[in-house]
């Protein structure tokens, strides 16, 4: 099917690092190194000459102040000419998806032919800030003209100024944390604790299956340790093969200890990881000898009031994307829904069902989702595109959908097509 907006854009290939729980296997690795690793392995797997790449776009949600433009550091890999421009963006948990569609747009417009897009997050390595007062004092001291003035500035420091500030995963506009939002959605949409646990268990079971049969690991470039005697990370390390509903039921809710239902088991964990996708115009893909996995048919973003149901915006984004694709829900052969929380997935599905759409679980998150695989904020959107594209090839499905809920009350949807 021809593209609807300008040139047709192919998803040629995608690679990601293993997704590992924060504080575990990749805890000492910076996000930029994860991103570079994924991009480089993508080049290896596709035998792509770095000279062919026109632009690099990467998403990241919590960037390090030391590497503010992670995309540029990727494009400065020695495998690329130094002249490839690059930028980084933040669409919260849909950042890598956004990077991919931003790449899509440049190719569709004819501004580029080949783009590497992806995302990365190292939640083991979040920036810890100094207090505002300490920062002010340090700035004042650095501007001081004499030693005396400098010392005088330092005398203003009080013990409480030295307490570091860690960024919280909370809405700046409401102060509500992600977990609290999920808790609120569970209550408003009457999502039972058991249903949430069941969805989480499903996520783990399917992800474990996908890992065991190699479908999930096919998209992973094993992480070769950078120190002697460190284990090689071949797969995502949050996927459980031994959990049961009984075990999950024992966990205490985290965000509302008395009446809550959202637990550590039915939420996605803090995760480190990166993903990278090779995009090309269909002409460029052909000229380079690639057989694309899928093509990007449409995408859409929607937003709702963050004070309402923070993670429910996909219910608005998906119909827009379907409409732009010119297809209907029932035409979809595979669906990847980002799993921030089981309560959110089930709320989203409820919203879709309310539109009269039939929910066929057999085609949703067929290798599990973020609850089991993990959720490095900036990288997940890329993972979804890769997982979906590969599985669309395996099953020879014509249309597939990704749906991502994101901080700030945003929802992101993208339709991929096989031919």
């Amino acid at each position: 099917m021809p593209g609807l907006n300008g040139r047709r854009v192919a998803v040629v290939a995608g690679v990601r690092t293993p997704f590992t729980k924060a504080g575990t296997a990749l805890k000492d690795v910076r996000a930029v190194d994860l991103a570079r690793y994924a991009a480089r392995e993508l080049l290896e797997r596709t035998n792509l000459d770095g000279q062919e790449v026109d632009e690099v776009i990467f998403g990241q949600v919590v960037p390090s102040p030391l590497v503010p433009n992670i995309g540029r550091e990727v494009s400065l890999l020695p495998q690329f000419p130094k002249e490839i421009p690059a930028y980084s963006l933040n669409r919260a948990c849909a950042s890598a998806s956004q990077a991919i569609t931003a790449g899509h747009d440049q190719i569709a417009l004819g501004n580029a032919a080949v783009i590497i897009a992806g995302g990365a997050e190292a939640l083991s390595d979040i920036p810890i800030l100094a207090s505002r007062r300490l920062a002010d004092i340090l700035v004042e001291a650095s501007k001081a003209k004499s030693l005396g003035a400098r010392l005088k500035a330092f005398t203003k420091i009080r013990p409480r100024d030295l307490v570091p500030v860690a960024p919280a995963i909370a809405e700046p506009s409401t102060g509500e944390s992600m977990g609290q939002s999920a808790e609120k959605m569970a209550k408003e949409n009457h999502i039972a604790r058991e249903a949430q646990d069941r969805w989480a268990l499903r996520s783990h079971t399917l992800a474990a299956k996908g890992t065991a049969d190699g479908r999930l690991t096919a998209e992973i470039a094993p992480w070769l340790s950078s120190r002697p005697n460190e284990a090689i990370v071949r797969a995502d390390n949050g996927i459980r093969t031994d959990s049961s509903l009984e075990q999950m039921a024992k966990l205490k809710p985290v965000f509302d200890r008395r009446y809550g239902s959202v637990t550590a088991a039915n939420s996605s964990p803090l995760t480190d990881g990166a993903s990278a996708v090779l995009l090309a115009s269909s002409e460029a893909a052909q000229a380079l000898g690639y057989e694309p996995l899928t093509y990007i048919r449409s995408y859409a973003v929607a937003a709702v009031d963050p004070g309402w149901q923070l993670l429910q915006a996909p219910v608005w984004a998906v119909p827009k994307a379907l409409e732009r694709a010119g297809i209907q829900w029932k035409d979809l052969g595979l669906i990847e829904i980002h799993e921030a929380f089981a309560a959110q997935v089930l709320s989203n599905l409820q919203g879709f069902a309310a539109k009269g759409w039939e929910i066929n679980e057999d085609i949703i998150n067929v290798m599990g989702g973020s609850i089991a695989i993990g959720h490095p904020f900036g990288a997940t959107g890329g993972r979804l595109v890769i997982t979906l594209s590969n599985e669309m090839v395996r099953r020879d499905v014509q249309f597939g959908l990704i749906s991502v809920c994101a901080q700030g009350g945003m929802g992101f949807a993208m339709v991929l097509e096989r031919r």
Partner: protein, 719 residues
């Protein structure tokens, strides 16, 4: 020192312009890539400075090079080679000294701006000037490498450098012939100022203007208080000189006279003043210039330079540009090749091994070569980060589709290597070259498995790859010239000296090592002791003796090579009686890597002969063979094999053969290589010695046809 191919010149090398009281003098030797100081250039210098002395408009001089990345590479080595006698050489040195004395005492300040290599006579010139500005560029290399050619810095270098930076630091540079980067030279105080390349000329002229106005640099006493304690007084200096002498003797084992002579020149000058020092320096230069050692070192210098330009095959098509290197097998050799390729050639390297754990280890081992460079400040942390990103690996052939060159370094087994070749051919680009790193397997045999044997070649690296300077490139029967030139060119980019060798068992290095190593068994069986054998070889000038060498290589590897060589050359490489090295290998003693071989090792250090080794070998040291006999059996066996192999065309010419022996396993450079050594002894004598050895110890010593013929005709390898 550098070479100057043709002495005929038309355009002047030294030109100048005067503006604002400053004469900007530019040295640009027409028709040559680098500046060197020859007699003709010297004359131009003298004329130039004479004119500037008289020119009232000129108040100071700024001296620059007209070459893009070179200041002065040194004195003209061709001129040096033509020197016939010690007195002639002494006169040459004295002339140079006189010219530089004139510059040092020049009434107007002379400032030099240095960018690019500033070596030997170039640095001596700069030292005679009054202020030195240098660029902080990696191309700016500063040093006095003379002793590496068996001579000493004789244009005042032995006098001015210690006076500028202290005796200790000066000896450090002069005695080892070390070349330093600009930053180090600045730290040492050799240059006064370090600037970015674009402003070099401007700053040099500005310094000349300042000096014209009467300003003089204040230089601190070199080395601070410790420097004063050691260098600043006669007693401290005596300690410094004594320590330096001891170190030189340890390093040269008395085989190389130049460092000792340089030491003497420095010491003499510090004791009796610069005039006496210069006189002594020139005398010693005269003596050294005509020594056999210097001649040999210069020959090696020329041979290595010639090899750098030799494409390795006649009418060579241009080498393919390698931007990406695939390596199959991430063991010790594979990772050594990978790390060296990244560090030297800065190519993208992809390693592949069957097991990811081995790949990870291999990538780490390759990275260790970069770690080492970072630690020694050869590269910055930013360069390090860039280079590290060139290294990666996996357990599939992903990424090999773009590798212009793939080198396999898998287990030394024909079937395994052929299997790898078949796999690789399936993924390599259509014009990709496949090289096998093997020491014993014929390339033509490996290539039998290829669809495209034209692109299969041997690249025999030596271990450890990062340190060993030689590479043997071995074309198979059907290898194309372009494949050869690609392998040769890439080896060179890896910093190796490359010789092209015929595809035959042992190639060149292992071939001529075989009788040498093999003789160890015979000597032990005849009652020689392990340390006696080694010490004789060291006394001859080898860096280590043959027994230590076997331990270093690994006895299992040595045994395997020995088997191949005995099978191929059974008529003269015959196993010694008794259980031999095999008994040691069976007992799990594999040499250094297992902590025990002929010697035993602790914490990575050799701790002495392991007496149990004799028992396993069934040998009993009884002082049997005489020391001179031991040496002859070791060396003449090797010389005989080298002559025979050269006769078979294993190497293209004696030059390649000698360079291979020197760089491959440390044949004493001052003896010029086994073939040059045979020339020096004379074929007649070599043949008669071999015949005597053959009579006493067996036909393995029977002189080869090549030597007999030379003895008969009175010819030599080098005419």
């Amino acid at each position: 020192m550098a070479t100057l191919a043709s002495p005929t010149r038309t355009a002047p090398a030294v030109t100048w312009e005067i503006s604002d009281g400053i004469a900007v003098v530019v040295l640009d030797l027409q028709g040559h890539p680098v500046n060197v100081i020859s007699r003709a250039v010297k004359d131009e210098f003298i004329a130039c400075f004479a004119a500037l002395a008289d020119d009232a408009r000129v108040r100071a001089i700024a001296f620059l090079s007209g070459k893009p990345d070179n200041f002065i590479a040194g004195a003209d080595i061709e001129e040096f080679v033509r020197l016939g006698s010690a007195s002639e050489a002494e006169r040459l040195a004295a002339d140079g000294q006189e010219m530089l004395e004139r510059i040092a005492r020049f009434p107007k300040p002379v400032v030099v701006g240095i960018h690019g290599s500033c070596l030997g006579g170039g640095l001596e010139f700069a030292l005679a000037c009054h202020y030195r500005v240098a660029t902080d560029h990696s191309r700016t290399q500063i040093g006095l490498p003379e002793v590496q050619l068996g001579i000493l810095p004789a244009a005042g270098g032995c006098q001015r450098l210690p006076r500028l930076i202290g005796a200790r630091a000066a000896l450090d540079m002069i005695l080892a012939g070390k070349v330093e980067r600009a930053a180090k030279a600045f730290r040492l105080g050799i240059v006064d100022e370090l600037v970015a390349p674009p402003i070099l000329n401007e700053i040099t002229v500005r310094a000349a203007q300042k000096m014209a106005g009467g300003w003089r640099p204040k230089r601190k006493r070199p080395g601070g208080f410790v420097g004063f304690l050691l260098d600043g007084n006669p007693l401290g200096r005596r300690i410094v000189f004594r320590a330096a002498k001891k170190q030189v003797l340890e390093r040269t084992a008395g085989h190389y006279p130049a460092p000792l002579a340089a030491l003497e020149a420095v010491e003499h000058g510090m004791k009796y003043g610069i005039t006496e020092g210069l006189k002594r320096e020139a005398q010693l230069f005269g003596q050294l210039a005509v020594t056999d050692v210097s001649r040999k070192l210069v020959q090696i210098f020329f041979a290595t330079n010639a090899l750098k330009k030799d494409p390795g095959v006649q009418n060579a098509p241009p080498a393919a540009r390698v931007t990406r290197l695939g390596i199959v097998g991430s063991g010790f050799m594979g990772s050594g090749i990978a790390g060296t390729a990244v560090a030297q050639a800065e190519v993208d390297v992809r390693m592949k091994d069957a097991d990811l754990g081995r790949v990870a280890q291999g990538v780490l081992a390759a990275r260790a070569i970069l770690d080492d460079r970072l630690k020694r400040r050869r590269i910055s942390k930013y360069e390090y980060a860039r280079l590290v990103a060139l290294l990666s690996g996996g357990d599939t052939y992903a990424g090999f589709g773009r590798a212009e060159l793939t080198i396999e370094a898998v287990f030394e087994d024909l079937a395994v290597k052929q299997q790898v070749l078949r796999e690789a051919e399936g993924v390599l680009p259509a014009d990709g070259v496949f090289a096998s790193n093997t020491s014993t397997i014929p390339i033509t045999r490996i290539a039998e498995a290829a669809k495209d044997p034209e692109r299969v070649i041997g690249m025999h690296f030596f271990s450890p790859v990062a340190k060993m300077p030689l590479l043997e490139v071995i074309p198979g029967a059907r290898t194309t010239p372009q494949t050869i030139s690609t392998a040769v060119a890439f080896g060179r980019r890896m910093g190796k000296t490359v010789i092209v060798v015929r595809d035959s068992p042992g190639f060149w290095v292992n071939r001529i090592l075989a009788p040498y190593a093999n003789e160890v068994g015979h000597l032990l069986a005849d009652g020689a002791s392990i340390d006696e054998i080694d010490s004789m070889a060291v006394r001859f000038g080898f860096p280590v003796g043959p027994v230590t060498l076997l331990d270093e290589v690994g006895l299992d590897v040595a045994l395997k090579v020995a088997g191949v060589m005995q099978e191929a050359y059974g008529d003269h490489i015959v196993p010694a009686p008794g259980p031999g090295v095999g008994a040691l290998v069976k007992a799990g003693r594999l040499g250094r890597k297992s902590g025990r071989g002929f010697y035993f090792y602790k914490d990575g250090k050799k701790r002495g002969v392991d007496e149990n080794a004799y028992e396993l070998l069934g040998a009993h040291p009884n002082g049997g063979p005489r020391p001179a006999d031991i040496l002859q059996r070791l060396v003449l066996g090797m010389v005989n094999e080298a002559a025979r192999a050269l006769g078979e065309g294993v190497v293209r010419n004696p030059r390649d053969g000698d360079i291979g022996a020197i760089f491959g396993f440390g044949f004493p450079p001052f003896r010029g290589g086994p073939l040059r050594y045979a020339d020096d002894l004379g074929a007649e004598r070599v043949v008669s010695d071999l015949e005597r050895l053959a009579e006493r110890h067996g036909v393995r010593f029977a002189p080869c046809e090549v030597l007999r013929e030379q003895a008969g005709r009175g010819t030599k390898f080098y005419s």
